[in-house]
Amino acid sequence: MKPTNVQDPEYFHKVIDCQYACPAHTPVPEYIRLIANKKYTEAYMVNWESNVFPGILGRTCDRPCEPACRRGRIEKEEEPVAICRLKRVAADNKGEVKSLMPNAPLNKNGKKVALIGGGPASLTVARDLAPEGYEIHLFDEWHKGGGMMRTQIPSFRLPERVLDEEVNYVTDMGIHTHYNHFVESMKEILDEDYDAVFVGTGAPNGRDLKLPGREEADANVHIGINFLASVAFEHRDKIGRKVIILGGGNTAMDCCRTSRRLGGKEVTVVVRSPFKDMKASPWEIDDAKAEDIPIFNNMPPKSFVVENGKLKGMWFGHVRAEYDKNGKRSLIPTDDPDTFIEADDVIIAIGQDNAFPWIERDLGIEFGKWDLPILNKTTFQSTLPNVFFGGDAAFGPENIITAAAHGHQAAISIHHFCQGVDVNTRLDPTTNLVKQKMGIHEWMYDSPVVEDDRFAVPHEDKVITLSDRKVEVELGFDEITGFREAQRCLNCDVQTVFSLDQCIECDACVDVCPTSCITFTSNGAEEDLRERLSAPANNLDQDLYVSDTLPTKRVMIKDEDVCLHCGLCAERCPTAAWDMQKYLYGVTKVSKIL
């Protein structure tokens, strides 16, 4: 193998599994250490710079970082660090932050930008552009900003005060908000004097299910996202005693839990496919089950039964799943007799679609498959150069953190577009590699690997939460538990950096490494090397760090996979050929936030 180029900013970035997996590349271990040091305000700001909504995300993030977390790999029973809920610890305990945020300059730069939709994607664009002096106009059909974070995510998961606070941090930066304003025509917007337009309107259409009896039952059949929005805006505060929720995603989980709070006593979730194919996050499923909501699987709905004009329930068939060689699933009906489930109300939560009825099709904005706009995947620019898309409106429904990541990149494109710079130009990441050695056995980070298991977030009493939909279920970690959970982080950003010139090949690092990461051996092809290291390197997602040829004609090879970042290799190296250096990687934004 060729020697690893650690100058490539992505090499060490990739070692920081959580940060690499985070769509916005939030410097996770950096903020976790700040939390452990009770520097909550600083931890909050590190987050706010990256993802704009730390308090919201600390409660609701889809957390792609956690399955990626190294801690979950180092032993079979180990669970990842509670990265997401630690974010909340920073938000809950922070001090004054407003003064640390940039202000919009009084002198504008003369450019005007329209943002359609007030969800996290648009708000992120606004946050990034405002400090540069853009005049920003944000349109949303509702009376407050936040998009689906407000209309969809129930208050028992995300209290309104947290949402308001973080939406306001952005809109207070001199954003012209046009609430209660549904944009009916893109043409009208384009006819005004905006230099650029950003579309962050989300994926607003909930799918319906055409089954026998659907029409007759209409009064008691609800589309999931419409149902949640009507609850959020207090248009609805009741539901029948018996409720069926169709669907296995997070929307279904929010619908069933909301139903329990509106009077639903026998709330049942029915999924047409197997449990293991359910789209909902495991923790959302657990929370639903904890609220006495049974989930049935492999039961496709067949028909609605209406008697005397009133919904009585639904019939379901039974299937089993079979997978072909390519893993493609087919649902095969079984011999089991159909099942009837009684219901006063049915909520259909089987997915969302994009819809742009308000964008005229003769403006030069081209649409492709699924009626999604045709975009440049890096710049988010549409086929009409001054129009950009982001969030769920860009490539279909995702989540808040993805919307924020899109927003940052779209903001860069808009900035370049308005300043006459090539839109394809991307900003290099900021990187910083700092030695951590303080003395013998002393590092600037807590290098010992603690043995604690993952801590569970405490919940409010169920009797209380089920009686009031606005009472938050999760109480968040207290400071002490937050500290202990933070200490579980392995500090994967503290890199093991190898200097060939200093190595005397004494093997001390090989001998001390608890997880057998390091090998000195003759070079070879990657597949061959992966087999003959101190321990087999079977995780192909993780790189091998390979040195140039040493005096004994061998090379040093380190498998990054289960390195604990314990620093013992550097500790035991007599010549400091191994050094622990903290790598801070940042996605560069339009304006400097921190």
Binding site: I74, W443, P448, C506, T515, P536
Partner: protein, 350 residues
């Protein structure tokens, strides 16, 4: 603070046939100097015991005094241990071994501990062919007391402060050949590929198995001009043979070139497979080994690998016809067989 060894090991680590993970053979985290050759030997001992499927509680680790003799703290946490006074490990090992022949005796010592204060004990344990492994961690100096030249330091070797050693070295391998050891090898701490199978073979050998392991002292004797420095050893090292140890009941997988092949079957049926690099050397002939050793010394080479083995070795227990049962398992009946037996014995002397 990073001087705490995490409990986590590589997730693919597996149990050996005795039901132990490799980590079950580890000791506490080393407090030897970073880069000390002794640590590599410790790691080799851990690897050898794991690969030999030895139950950790069936091992006795012994040592004298020195950095090398501190080493047992860093391996085999679950074994018996005895840290004796300076140079006196062989006599304690002899006593323990005589009391219980069922355990594996693994002694480590330094060149100071063995070749200076302990030289008398060393010679006698050789000539008694006590069934034990004796590893001498050889760094040419007294590491623990800040690097004074030891009796194995070569003439002309420079110390860290620049002073030249003027005294003739004791070659402990020749000494062992002379004094009756039945398994003799030399190795280098930086060559685990050779050292681990050597330790495994030594543990299978019924008799006194001596391994002189050159093990640089990074702190006091790794300077330019020292003949025990990493660089110097790497430049002058020569091997006697390609070497593999095949435990009993395992397939022999190595194939060496015709004519160079030599295999030695040990007492328990395990085998040593050698591919000799010298045609004029026979590892089962004491004189031939002696000659080869002198030759390479004259050439300025450091000869490593297995040097001599006596396949017909008879250990001290056989010679003395001692109790096969460990003393702690003898019952009152065995120990006080009664007046009739006493009478019988007494008549033998009449």
């Amino acid at each position: 603070m990073s001087f705490i060894k995490p409990i986590f090991r590589h997730p693919t680590q597996t149990k050996n046939k005795a039901g132990f993970y490799k980590s079950d053979y580890e000791g506490r985290i080393s407090t030897l100097c970073a880069g000390c050759g002794h640590d590599s030997i410790n790691a080799s001992i851990v690897a050898a015991c794991y690969e030999m499927n030895i139950e950790p509680h069936k091992v006795v680790k012994l040592s004298g005094i020195g950095c090398s003799s501190k080493a047992p703290a860093y391996y085999l946490n679950n074994s018996h241990g005895f840290n004796t006074v300076h140079g006196r490990m062989p006599s304690v090992a002899t006593g323990a071994n005589m009391a219980n022949r069922e355990l594996t005796y693994l002694g480590v010592s330094g060149d100071g501990d063995s070749a200076s204060i302990g030289i008398g004990q060393f010679i006698h344990v050789n000539r008694r062919n006590l069934n034990m492994v004796y590893i001498m961690m050889n760094n040419g100096c007294y590491g623990l007391t800040k690097g004074q030249d030891s009796a194995t330091a070569d003439i002309g070797s420079l110390s860290k402060s620049g002073s030249r050693n003027e005294f003739s070295p004791i070659d402990m391998v020749s000494m062992a050949l002379e004094s009756g050891a039945t398994f003799i090898a030399r190795s280098f701490s930086g060559d685990k590929k050779q050292l681990v199978p050597l330790i495994k073979a030594a543990m299978s050998h019924p008799g006194f198995a001596f391994i002189d392991v050159i093990s640089p002292c990074v702190t006091f004797n790794n300077n330019k001009g020292s003949t025990k420095a990493y660089d110097f050893i790497r430049e002058h090292i020569e091997v006697t043979s390609e070497f593999d140890f095949v435990p009993i009941r395992e397939e022999i997988s190595v194939e060496y070139e015709e004519g160079t092949q030599k295999s030695v079957t040990l007492h328990d049926g395990s085998q040593i497979q050698l591919s000799k690099l010298y045609s004029d050397w026979d590892p089962s002939d004491r004189n031939s080994a002696m000659e080869k050793l002198q030759q390479s010394k004259a050439n300025g080479d450091i000869l490593t690998g297995l040097l001599y083995i006596d396949p017909g070795s008879q250990d001290l227990h056989s010679t003395l016809n001692t109790s096969t049962l460990p003393l702690n398992q003898l019952t009152e009946e065995d120990l006080c067989p009664g007046s009739a037996t006493l009478e019988k014995i007494n008549t033998e002397y009449r």
